[in-house]
């Protein structure tokens, strides 16, 4: 069967966050207790109970104000770091390109959480297992689009055959370039091909996306375990730090960005 993908066109996103709420509603996720975040962004990060959210970025380019919005969620990578580092075998890839977690097998070790180059996985306090976007697979199986795509009022989120999504994204990029927008597709080849394709109207780093994301591998993880065993310490932090650094985009907009993620 053909692979599926979601296309997120940031140039059409109005940041209404209907997708955030629709995701929680369809998946029955509890609300997170949040506080004033200093921006429109909330909850402050993706987690086991928040599978998608919109990032808000304020930017000024030679006096011209920009207010950018990007919906973030699991990218359903072909080279899925989460799957590579999962010792419990709880993570599988479907033949349609989706990365799915098996709650029953997950032991809550958080390896996947730290290995994800997009920081799109979290541990649910409710279930004690890692959870993330599942592309609403029961909806897809029944011929519907994911809840976030359904809720999107402007058509910024579309879903379907990956080939079609790519064609659509490329056409849109070409249209935007025709209007002088510095547009590009993100996700075509990154990590073997993502199943969330972005139409970006600027460089990925501005939107908090790594320009060249790299996958974590099981081999690397084993090396770390040996090293840790050698010193007799079960320490998580160094591993977490390394992958965090690997996943982190160089922040080109530093100094001008008001980012509730901080």
């Amino acid at each position: 069967m053909a692979e599926l993908a979601m296309c997120v066109d940031v140039s059409k996103c109005t940041g209404c966050r209907g997708c955030q709420v629709a995701c929680k509603q369809w998946n029955g996720l509890p609300a997170v207790k949040t506080g004033f975040s200093g921006s429109y962004e909330n909850p402050p990060r993706i987690g086991g109970d928040t599978w998608t959210r919109v990032r808000f970025i304020e930017k000024e380019d030679s006096g011209k104000m920009r207010f950018l919005f990007r919906k973030e969620q699991c990218m359903h990578c072909t080279e899925a770091s989460c799957q590579a580092v999962c010792a419990a075998g709880a993570i599988q890839k479907t033949d349609r390109g989706m990365v799915v977690f098996n709650d029953d097998r997950c032991v809550g070790c958080k390896n996947c959480v730290v290995a994800c180059p997009f920081r799109a996985i979290g541990l649910s306090e409710e279930t004690g297992s890692s959870r993330k976007c599942r592309f609403c697979y029961e909806r897809i199986e029944n011929g519907m689009e994911p809840a976030c795509a359904k809720a999107c009022p402007t058509g910024a989120i579309s879903f379907g055959d990956r080939g079609k999504m790519l064609t659509q994204a490329k056409q849109r990029v070409s249209d935007l370039r025709g209007l002088g927008v510095n547009a590009r597709v993100y996700g075509e080849n990154e990590l073997g091909g993502l199943h969330v394709i972005y139409v970006l109207d600027d460089e990925p780093e501005i939107y908090g996306l790594p320009a060249n994301p790299r996958a974590a591998t099981a081999g690397l993880f084993d090396n770390w375990l040996h090293a840790l065993a050698g010193v007799g310490v079960v320490a998580f932090a160094p591993f977490w730090l390394i992958f965090r650094e690997r996943g982190k985009a160089p922040d080109k907009s530093a100094g001008t960005e008001v980012d509730g993620n901080a």
């Binding site: 109005t14 209907g18 609300a31 506080g35 200093g38 104000m65 207010f67 009022p153 402007t154 058509g155």
Partner: protein, 799 residues
């Protein structure tokens, strides 16, 4: 909206002013995004703050709150000076060619006919010059110095770009870009739409703000065409419906004026004489009025008793019954009891401290809501009150939500859409219909044995919506449409209503929605879009007469041909007339003609598209507005600067509040402009969203948005707690320091503006201080809509 939501996809340019459409009407951006993608439409956002709408706009311009007339007046001047208006349209479809009375004048901010003592105008001099037969004199060359066109030109010649930018704070470069971009929609076959909301209406000059938009649209030929129009994005899902059904203090259903106790309304005959114009479609008003009275009082409304006209309550002509006035009367202990249906004035009302205090003067208060609100708990310690001091007895009736009841909702585009009940109401919650029906049946019973004149209207009211407590909503719908009272047959449309008492209709504009038994057109769900404009004529029902775009005769030229192939809406087809009936042709096309369907363009009146106005052409000049024929810029009640355009600071006809708890702030003490607004994530006074965890997590707290420069000057950091003070009180909240607010240069002086979402209160999950504690009790000159959008504050760090 003269047009409708889907029609936004047909626009070439959208001017969004006084509206944050992307945040507060997200669906509008479905269609605007389409217009952009498929037609290369341009989107302009004019707002004091860079919003999520601005983020999606091609051009953004900052504007100081309360200066829309200066902004639009400058555009009118620019368009007239550079002859960028749609000349063919203006010449015939507006009153530009009409000649005005010699006595009409305008000097230093004041039109002729002003009485400074009463703060009122007499409109005696705002008249057309007429010939001996009473017909208006015209000069279609538009050259005569007393034509509307020349007077308009003269009036706005003072609104040169430099002056305008000094008033609005808009940088000149971007102002010129907007003027040029929007004026381009004046070209033949091009369309521009204006989207506005409460950012435009909630001002002391709110009505004139909207009128200035409408005039700009007339000049550019943008009314009555696909992708054009003057489009109010209404503040709630059913505000349009509630307005149509007269949830306004001066109207009865169908935009008929409520009679007052003045002599001209003493009898039905004198009411109709006073209210019915001789020309235009409103000349049918007696049919609508009598049919309404028949709907109210049924068999008890007869020709002999003036169709029960005397049963209608008459308002006191000296008293204003608007929201502010009601709360002032409450404060002065003039009102004993109050029903609050889905309203939360302690959060949503202006001058909320005063309104909360005023509630304590009630003997009883009934709140009907989904949750406990700040209004139903105004007497608690949580509200800062001392319960022992408050004698008001408060009842809270749990209301069914919109998915727990059946009925109609009319959207901003005038589409009346039936909604079916999805689930039963939770616990004891009841529909509004249930509550009103049960209440009125009980009231009626109480008056059963009364014989006083006051009892008659209640005893005789026709109230036959079934025996159960839940009213038969289908029967209500049938009555709103109207039926023949002898045969019981539904009236097929308002043209068939009669003033002889043979028909009833609860609202003439809805007549046609339920044209025959079993055919409730508001239930239609066929989205076939013939012609591709999105008019979808078989989807629900659009009043009047299922028209999707009002004044659509304007979409065709004098001869009845579409202005361009790209903008086809309706046109005259000489082949379509019924020869046997002597018809020379027919108006046909992609919408229901808003015109006599068989009146040929060449016949008298054949080029007069505005059939609801007595002069049947668009009113660039009007006698209907209390401040004068042309919108003029005045400063808000609390303003940091003096009026640059005249010596008149404040709208000369507004009622200046001189009541307690409503102090006016001065710019020396309160130098910063305050404004209020909404966010996508919360709804109105918040009772429906602050109680929902998924929405509460998105915006869990109240905040104030301010510029980096203001924050720096006051030593405030993003996330600090700050105090916002005004002459009427202060609130403490979080600072959201943002690049999206910038100081404006007003008359050479740097002026800061801060913005507060007004959703918050102390009830529910997401809580915060009430922004409306800062807004004043002063209303618009025509409507008394409160000034929520421009007031003076100061900001300091909370200790």
């Amino acid at each position: 909206m003269t047009n409708h939501y889907i029609d936004l996809k047909n626009t070439d340019c959208a001017l969004i002013i006084g509206s944050n459409a992307a945040e507060n009407h997200p669906m509008s951006f479905k269609w605007l995004t389409k217009a952009r993608e498929e037609r290369g439409a341009r989107i302009i956002s004019v707002d004091p703050r860079f919003t999520r709408t601005s983020a999606k706009a091609d051009i953004y311009a900052p504007i100081r709150s309360g200066t829309d007339i200066a902004f639009i007046g400058g555009m009118i001047n620019y368009i007239l000076r550079n002859r960028m208006f749609n000349e063919a349209y203006v010449r015939k479809y507006t009153n530009a060619a009409f000649i005005i009375d010699d006595r009409y004048d305008f000097k230093d901010g004041i039109f002729s006919g002003y009485d400074s003592k009463s703060r009122k105008y007499s409109s005696d001099t705002w008249k057309y010059k007429t010939d001996s037969a009473g017909q208006p004199l015209k000069d279609e060359t538009l050259q005569h110095p007393r034509t509307v066109f020349q007077l308009l030109k003269k009036h706005y010649s003072r609104y040169d770009i430099d002056t305008v930018c000094r008033i609005t704070g808009t940088p000149k470069g971007v102002y010129m870009e907007i003027a040029d971009t929007y004026a381009a929609t004046g070209a033949r076959g091009k369309a521009g739409t204006i989207l506005y909301a409460m950012g435009a209406t909630q001002h002391t000059v709110g009505s004139q703000n909207i009128r200035s938009y409408a005039m700009l649209q007339l000049l550019l030929g943008n009314i009555g065409v696909p992708g054009g129009g003057i489009n109010a994005l209404r503040g709630e899902a059913n505000v349009q419906g509630s307005t149509d059904m007269a949830l306004l203090f001066h109207l009865i259903p169908g935009y008929l004026n409520l009679p007052s106790a003045a002599p001209q309304y003493a009898t039905l005959a004198s009411y109709l004489e006073t209210e019915t114009p001789k020309t235009g479609y409103w000349s049918n008003k007696p049919k609508f009025m009598v049919s309404l009275l028949k709907a109210f009082w049924g068999p008890n409304a007869t020709k002999d008793n003036e169709f029960a006209y005397q049963y209608l309550p008459k308002i006191d002509p000296q008293v204003n019954y608007s929201h502010i006035s009601v709360f002032e009367a409450l404060y002065e202990e003039k009102i004993k009891g109050m029903f609050c249906f889905g309203q939360n004035p302690v959060v949503g009302g202006p001058n909320a401290n005063k309104e909360a205090k005023a509630l304590g003067n009630l003997e009883w208060l009934v709140c009907v809501d989904l949750w406990e609100t700040e209004t139903s708990t105004f007497w608690t310690e949580k509200a800062g009150a001392r319960p022992a001091d408050i004698k008001t007895e408060v009842f809270l009736l749990p209301a069914a939500s919109s998915v727990e009841k059946e009925g109609t909702v009319s959207n901003s585009g005038r589409w009346i859409q039936w909604r079916w009940k999805a689930i039963e109401p939770v616990n004891d919650a009841k529909s509004d219909g249930w509550i009103i029906n049960s209440l009125f049946k009980r009231v009626k019973k109480l008056y059963e044995n009364e014989s006083s004149p006051a009892a008659a209207p209640i005893k005789h009211l026709l109230w036959d919506y079934g025996d159960s407590d839940e009213p038969d909503i289908d029967k209500v719908a049938r009555e709103i449409n109207g039926y023949n009272v002898f045969t019981g047959k539904q009236v097929p449309g308002f043209a068939k209503l009669s003033d002889d008492g043979s028909t009833c209709s609860g609202n003439w504009v809805f007549c046609g929605m339920y044209p025959e038994a079993g055919k409730n057109l508001s239930q239609r769900r066929d989205n076939t879009d013939e012609g591709g404009l999105g008019n979808c004529l078989n989807w629900s029902y659009s009043w009047p007469a299922n028209r999707r775009i009002l004044y659509n005769r304007c979409s065709a030229d004098y001869e009845g041909r579409p202005w361009s192939d790209d903008s086809k809406l309706i046109w005259w087809d000489p082949a379509k007339g019924d020869i046997l009936k002597g018809e020379k042709g027919k108006w046909v096309g992609l919408d229901v003609p808003d015109f006599n369907a068989v009146l040929a363009p060449a016949e008298p009146g054949g080029t007069n598209p505005f059939i609801m106005l007595p002069e049947t052409v668009g009113g660039l000049f009007t006698t209907k507005m209390k401040e004068g024929p042309f919108p003029e810029h005045y400063e808000p009640w609390e303003s940091p600067v003096n009026n640059s355009l005249s010596g008149v600071q404040l709208n000369p006809v507004v009622k200046v509040p001189k009541t307690a708890m409503n102090e006016q702030g001065s710019p020396d003490r309160f130098p910063i402009i305050g404004t209020t607004y909404r966010v996508s994530e919360h709804w109105q006074a918040g009772q429906m969203t602050r109680n929902l965890p998924w929405l509460a997590e998105l915006f869990p707290d109240m905040f104030v948005e301010m510029s980096e420069s203001l924050a720096k000057a006051r030593g405030i950091k993003n996330g600090d707690k700050v105090v916002i003070s005004c002459a009427r009180g202060e609130i403490t909240t979080y600072a959201l320091v943002t690049k999206r607010f910038k100081p404006l240069l007003i008359n050479g002086k740097q002026v800061e503006e801060v913005g507060l979402p007004w959703h918050f209160g102390y009830q529910g999950i997401a809580t915060g201080e009430i922004a409306n504690k800062l807004t004043p009790h002063i209303g618009d000159g025509n409507t008394m809509i409160p000034e929520y959008k421009a007031f003076l504050v100061d900001v300091r760090r909370a200790v």
